[in-house]
């Protein structure tokens, strides 16, 4: 909105302000629509959610304020620690896979000479599938009997795995689904960043005798440092809210091995009918995510300046 800054020569005062507003009326009109939508569908529910976490309500009578009682209730729940540990473990594993794999895929795609467009489409394809469909597809892949993955292991003369049915492999199985579903988006963003690197840098590196790995280490990574950092933060914020994978694939089991904070929140609100407890969990998660979001905003600001 470049028009919001008045030229230095223009007279200041209430008259100038009024004329400024008049000139930008159309822009404010467009902005209002977006602001109203955000206020109504995003901010209002969020404020209500914060209020809910300090209330006990049955949605019939007036809600009563209970202070920190909802937070105490959920914190004393034996599943609370499991949910947080699993969420942190999921986020960590998702970073290892979901962060590195798309970056490597983007480098490979960037280096290719042929079939670039086709392969980009292939990589992006899973993103186009509705998440529920993608997740249920993996339910079949993970089937311990006739599932695709165990058939592949069998072909390779490797022992079958229990995948979702074992406390050892259930969480990592969910990470694999999540990585597959989101591979395309990450890859395309990295690819865009890679393509903005001036070609001369690579040519210079090649003249100096740098091979692929040295080029990646000395050119690609330094040049994409900021986008890598931003993606890291976005990945953390997104993966900590993991819900659909445990909801559809494991129901939080076996033995709470895939119970996440978001899934526990769902249980409180919709299975136990305790919206206050669900709200408290939501607020806790939101505070943690806000820390990472603050880092993200700081990075974005530094980048702009």
């Amino acid at each position: 909105m470049s028009t919001t800054t008045a030229p230095a020569s223009r007279p200041r005062g209430p008259g100038a302000l009024r004329s400024g507003i008049r000139r930008n009326l159309t822009a404010y009109g467009f902005l209002c629509g977006a602001l109203i939508c955000f206020a109504f569908f995003s901010w209002y529910p969020m404020v209500q959610e914060v209020l809910l976490s300090f209330q006990r309500t049955n949605f019939v009578d007036e809600p009563t304020w209970v202070g920190w009682a909802n937070f105490r209730t959920v914190a004393e729940d034996a599943a609370f620690a499991d949910a947080w540990l699993n969420t942190i473990a999921f986020t960590g594993l998702a970073l290892v896979f979901g962060y590195v794999v798309p970056f490597v895929a983007a480098i490979v795609l960037n280096e290719l000479r042929h079939a670039k467009a086709y392969l980009r489409f292939v990589v992006y394809l899973p993103v186009m599938l509705p998440p529920a469909v993608a997740v249920l597809l993996f339910k079949w892949f993970y089937d311990p009997g006739a599932g695709l993955f165990n058939q592949i292991l069998d072909l390779a003369h490797l022992p079958a795995l229990s995948w979702l049915d074992s406390t050892d492999t259930a969480l990592i199985s969910l990470v694999i689904v999540s990585t597959w579903m989101n591979l395309g988006t990450g890859t395309l963003i990295y690819l865009a960043a890679l393509q903005s690197i001036p070609g001369e840098l690579y040519e210079a590196a090649e003249l100096d005798g740098a091979g692929l790995f040295k080029r990646v280490w000395h050119v690609t990574i330094p040049q994409t440092k900021l986008i890598l950092l931003v993606m890291l933060l976005l990945q953390i914020v997104a993966t900590m809210q993991v819900f659909i994978e445990p909801y559809l694939l494991t129901g939080g089991g076996p033995e709470n091995a895939t119970l996440t904070v978001a899934y526990l929140m769902y249980q409180y609100a919709f299975n136990f009918g305790d919206f206050g407890g669900g709200g408290a969990l939501g607020l806790m998660l939101m505070v943690v995510l806000m820390v990472f979001s603050a880092f993200y905003l700081r990075l974005s600001r530094d980048n702009q300046s």
Partner: protein, 452 residues
Amino acid sequence: MKPPKIQMLLAAGIVLTAAGCGGSEAADDKPGAAGGSAVTISVGCQPPRSNTLERSAWDEDVAAFEKLHPNIKIDSKDAFPCINPDTFQAKLAGGTMEDVFYVYYTDVQKIIAAGQAADITPYVSGVSRLKDLRPDVLNVFKSGEKIYGLPRTNYTTGLVYNRKLFTQAGLNPDAPPKTWAEVHEAAKKIAALGPGHVGFGEYSAGNTGGWHFAASLYGRGGEMVTPDGKAAAFNSPEGKAVLENLKKMRWTDNSMGSKQLLQWEDLMRMMGGGKLGMMIGAPDVVQTVNNDFKGKFEDYGVTALPEAKASLGGGDGYMINPKATPEKIKAAVLWLEFHELTPGRGQFDYERSKRQGRPVGLPIPDLYGDTEPGKEIVKLREANATVPVANFAPFAQGSAAIQNKLEPPKAQELYAILDVPMSAVLTRQDADIDQLLADAEAKANKVLAASS
């Protein structure tokens, strides 16, 4: 990744508060609209348009009722499924909850405790067959001496089995298992039919594992909580027997298949697919398998839960919006009596069901037991049967004497806790049952202590 922003979803109900405009505060709802004044009640669970036969039967009943009571208008609300726990609270918050809303037994006590249903005790005295309702069924809707709803269906848990697989495995489908030892033997023979065949299936995720643990525990004569409801009582010989039974079938007999963490739909799908031999369930399972999972009525049978001493009651019914006026409550009770509780009418109009080609003959619902209306319903059902009644006779005979038992307090919380031991014994060969039950007991005690 892009998971839904759950915290916003949680608050979505509140948004509806602003969007909604008080469903039960309609203009026809002015105080003093009693007697002959017109009143409109919205009623949930009208069959969806896709279910043309049931839909037309419902609409026919609404027309007949409105003719009988010209001052009452029924505003039918269709939905499939009739209740979705995810939207229940949001509808209540937004004022869009029906005046007469549909509930599962599982949720009734939670709704009463939360004050989300109207006390209809003063209004049901005129229901002529109220005294004949099975006391255990009416108790589902009671808190103390107060009544908060009326039942629509009721069933006790039994053993659903695939008659076709029984025959293939050399078992007699007309002599289903009566003991758990017989279940083991039958399951082994069915599993031996080949890859993909599962002798006995069981739930262990999404709170359904805990739910079936409770059903099996009651069957063995155990209790979920102490009589005062303040402590867990499932860490008992009966509770241990439930888990040991499953552990043996899963790991020693290898008759439960390798895929676990099953939830509600999974077993139905397996039953419909014709590879599952047995599961705990009521006759309505067969109806669902027939309607939604491509199974055929004639391939399935139901018998009583083996060695059962009691059974976790299941079913559904209606409760009334706590914001409804007395006039609406009176009208709602009249409608429920007409449509859900009268032999030969509404849901019990078996002549019409037969005429429409709908399945008749399953031994459900059982609202009245052996009382006069109960006998009348059974007579009408037998006279109009369209499904092989003999397949369900072992259930009808065996379950007659089995007591319906209510769900424990804080049912969903306890079921979530008991998913852990259920999933443990089904996914881990070295699961320590004593330890699992002790851990679950400690967690359950915390939940129960917090609520008492």
